[in-house]
Symmetry: C2
Subunit: 300 residues, 2 copies
C-alpha cells in the first residue's frame, strides 16, 4: 500500500492497458473511511507529465453498490482508453457510521446515501454524500492526481446514481461539461425510493427541501450551458414499468418547458432491464457522448 | 420459464443487442441439475432461420466459477456481436452431488471438476465433466438450438478452463476449429492444482492416466490440423510467478517438439494478474483469433 497526502492505495490492477486503482481515505464530511475507485487509462501512463492533462468522467453508482460493481461489470474501461479519459467511481454512502438501523434496508442507509446532505439530526453527521463528492473527494483527487484535469469533467450514473448525476449537474451549472444517465430516478419526489430517502435524510415536514435535489424540478430553473443530455432506460425494467420508480417521462416533460427543450435525448430501449447487463450494453454510447464535450476524439 | 426437449430457460437477459440465456437441465452424465449460460448475439435474432447458421465459441471457466462469472465480467458479448458467434459457458463441476467433502476445498470438488471423467469410485458417478460437456451438453444444445452450427465451433477458457480447452482440443483433433487460453494450467501433472485434482479424481496409483489429460503431454502426439494457438498469461499473476501452477514454458517447450512447432503464440503480459480484469483486457484479441478460423469477419 502506498499513500498520498489524502489517499491510501489499497490495490492497483492492470486492466485494458491502464490501471484500476482502489483508494481509501478518511473523510471529514462523512466521518468514516471511504473507498473510491479510479480508472487511469493507458494515456495516463504514456503521456509526458508536462503535456496534456486527461479529462475525467465521474460515475455515480446505484442502490446497494460499492465502487467495485461498476468497475467489474459496466465496461467503461475500453472506452476510457479509446478516448483517453479517467474515471472516478465513489461509494454510494458512508459505511459503518454506527447509526441505528443503517444496515436494515437496501434502499436507505448503507449503500443508499442518495447523494444528499442530510438535515435530519440522526443522519446529518455522516450522510453528506453531496458535499463529500463535490467539496472533498474531487478537490482532494485533484490535488493528488495532477495529471488529471478536474476542470474538464463530465458526470454520469445509474439509477440512484443517474439521479445523482442529473441533480449535481443542474445544481452546479458549468461545473460539468456534460451529463448522461442510465435508468435515472428522474423525479424522486414522486416515487417510493425518493420519498423514503428524502423523507429519511431531509425530513417530511418541509418537502420544499426535496425539490432542491429533484432533477425534474431543477431542470425547470436551470440556466447553464445548453448541452444535450443522453438518457437510456430499459423498457423491460420492472422499476420502470411496474414500480414507477424512474419516471423518465416526467423529466422529459419538464425539459420541454426549460431552456433544454429538445436537448434531452431520452431513449426507452426494448427488452433491457435494470442490471449491469443493461448498463454495459450502452456505456459505449455514453462514452462517445461525453468524449464530444470533453473535447476528445476516438483513437480507433 | 420455458422448456425445450432438454433445457429449462431460467432467464433471458437482453445484453449488447443479443441475449444472455440462462439454462438448466438434468444431466445423465453428472446425475445432477446443471446450469449453463448461452449468449446469442444480435445476428441470432436477425437472421432468416433458413439462412446461415451461427458459429459457436465454447468457454470453460476456472476454479470456483459458475457460468455467471464470465458472463458478467469477461466482456465477450460485444465481440460475439462484432463477428456473429454464439458463446456457451458451462459450469465447472456438478453441484449438490451429496459426496462427503465435496464443498470443503476451493480447488477440488464443487467448482473444480477439472474437466475429467473421474475413475475413483467416490467421484465417478457424478464427476464426469469431460463427457458431460462433449457427449451430452453440446449434442443437446445442437438439437435444441438449430440456428447454431456445432460443426463450426472453437474452444477457449481461463486457468482450469484454459487447461480444459487445450486438453479437449488435443484429445479431439478436428472437432474444434481453433483453441486459445487465458493463463491455462498448462502442465497439470506437475503443479499442485493438477496433482490434487488428478489424484482425487483419477487416483494416485497409475499416473499414466493423468498424462491422458495433460496438454503438455497431449501436444507431443497431436496429429490434427496445424492451426495457431493463442495464449495470454499475466506476469504479475501469483499463480504464475510465485506458485508455479501455470507453467506455460513447459507447454511451449513441448510444442517445439510437436507438429505445432512455431504455432503456439504464448504471450506473457506485463503487470496483469489472474483476475477477470486480466481476461476482459484480452477477450478482444481472442475473439479475433477464433473469428478467423470460424470464417467470420468483423462487421465494424
Amino acid at each position: 500500500m502506498s499513500t498520498t497526502s489524502t489517499f491510501t492505495t489499497e490495490s492497483e490492477i492492470q486492466n485494458f492497458g491502464g490501471k484500476l486503482v482502489k483508494l481509501s481515505h478518511q473523510s471529514e464530511k462523512t466521518k468514516t473511511k471511504m473507498d473510491v475507485n479510479l480508472y487511469l487509462p493507458e494515456q495516463y501512463y504514456k503521456k509526458d507529465p508536462s503535456s496534456v492533462k486527461l479529462p475525467v468522467l465521474l460515475y455515480l453508482s446505484g442502490l446497494t453498490c460499492t465502487p467495485n460493481n461498476a468497475s467489474e461489470k459496466a465496461f467503461w474501461q475500453p472506452y476510457c482508453n479509446e478516448y483517453g479519459f479517467a474515471m472516478i467511481l465513489p461509494d454510494t454512502s458512508p459505511r459503518g457510521a454506527n447509526i441505528e438501523g443503517e444496515d436494515e434496508s437496501y434502499d436507505f442507509g448503507s449503500g443508499a446515501g442518495f447523494y444528499v446532505d442530510a438535515t435530519e439530526p440522526k443522519w446529518s453527521k455522516n450522510y453528506n454524500m453531496y458535499s463529500y463528492i463535490l467539496d472533498e473527494l474531487l478537490p482532494n483527487l485533484s490535488k493528488d492526481f495532477t495529471k488529471l484535469d478536474f476542470n474538464n469533467i463530465s458526470i454520469t450514473g445509474h439509477s440512484m446514481g443517474g439521479y445523482g448525476a442529473l441533480m449535481m449537474y443542474f445544481k452546479n451549472p458549468s461545473k460539468f461539461k456534460s451529463v448522461s444517465a442510465f435508468s435515472p430516478i428522474s423525479n424522486p419526489s414522486n416515487c417510493k425510493w425518493g420519498e423514503k430517502c428524502f423523507g429519511g435524510y431531509l425530513g417530511t415536514q418541509d418537502k420544499s427541501k426535496w425539490l432542491t435535489y429533484d432533477p425534474t424540478e431543477l431542470i425547470k430553473t436551470y440556466n447553464g450551458p445548453k448541452v444535450p443530455i443522453l438518457i437510456h432506460t430499459g423498457k423491460a425494467d420492472p422499476f420502470y414499468y411496474r414500480d414507477l420508480q424512474l419516471l423518465p417521462e416526467n423529466f422529459l416533460k419538464a425539459s420541454e418547458e426549460s431552456i433544454l427543450k429538445g436537448l434531452v435525448d431520452s431513449r426507452l430501449v426494448d427488452g433491457y432491464d435494470h442490471s449491469y447487463f443493461f448498463i454495459s450494453s450502452f456505456t459505449k454510447d455514453h462514452a462517445a457522448h461525453h468524449a464530444k464535450y470533453l473535447g476528445l476524439s476516438s483513437k480507433l
